[in-house]
Symmetry: C2
């Protein structure tokens, strides 16, 4: 079959093999049938997905965490985030992560959409949230979790992204979404005020 | 050691084991020494990294590809992208991917920074480019690569992101970066024009 005659892009699973199972992800190595009928191999990182939270304090700064990311062998500054668990909802997980990592609970939550960080070989999906009306309770990190909490204004976060100093995908996507939303609200505000 | 007494976040490799090697990524399962001296396990997806290109046609639309992403079992609309090879530079790879996937070469290239899609367990780094002054030569896809090329104006791409219809991380990050850059240029333009 010529490529120009192909009408579907779908790839069908011929067989699927679990080749590695760890605490954070599983690896499947699958054989698939391509749109032209040939077979090929597709390796997949299977992950439960995550949540990421931009929590705004009353001084108009956003809570962030500094964490050592072993995969990159360096520290990252990120919005609060965490991995989903089998039976939670994204909002439940977001509330739990915010409280565990920063010690804050939020009385107002807003859903900000989701995205797929690296769709070529990894099924991870990240759900994004905005939170405000915060109240400090108490931080309670996992035993193997080390991080430092701080906060920054959104304009500074955006500047650090554009200077290449904040590199984390979920933080970048959520910061840009908030920036656009804020500008839309400002436009509406000034339209209402005339 | 109490967590409050810890001054570094660094995790040191105690031992590292290659547990899976496939065509797109390798998996390492490492034992690390935590900041408090205890040990823990860190699994890492090791990937050569990728490039992503927003190529603007003379009609002011951007080249995109529709691809079936097996890991997610659905089609994605994305900017042109590809995986790095061991000895290329990001720009060489970007030029090669644009030509292979869309058939276009670009006479003007601009670097747009880089980001880490999912830093918690994956070392993949994506280098971003803007390209214009395009010339059509000829598409030449890999045998196992099936995709459809189309193009969209940036405003429509941003709208589709905000409506949750474009979900690919690299496409979202690059589209927002371009959108902000365009607005900065417009501001400068009108400042210059007075």
């Amino acid at each position: 079959m010529k490529k120009s005659e192909i009408t579907t892009l779908k790839e069908i699973t011929k067989n699927s093999t679990l080749v590695y199972e760890g605490p954070v992800f599983k690896i499947y190595s699958d054989e698939v049938i391509l749109p032209d009928g040939n077979t090929s191999k597709r390796d997949v990182v299977s992950h439960l997905g995550g949540v990421c939270i931009a929590a705004r304090k009353s001084d108009n700064t956003f809570l962030m965490v500094r964490q050592y990311r072993y995969a990159l062998q360096r520290e990252f500054r990120e919005f609060v985030a965490g991995k989903r668990e089998p039976n939670d909802t994204p909002l439940e997980r977001a509330k739990a992560e915010l409280e565990e990592e920063t010690g804050y609970i939020a009385h107002h939550w807003q859903y900000m959409g989701h995205f797929i960080p690296t769709c070529g070989y990894d099924n991870e999906n990240i759900e994004l949230f905005y939170a405000d009306d915060l109240e400090f309770v108490a931080q309670h990190l996992d035993d193997t979790e080390f991080l430092q909490v701080f906060s920054m204004p959104l304009e500074e976060i955006i500047k650090e992204i554009e200077d290449g100093n904040i590199l984390d995908g979920k933080t970048i996507v959520l910061a840009y979404k908030l920036d656009r939303l804020q500008k839309e609200l400002q436009k509406t505000d000034s339209a209402v005020r005339g």
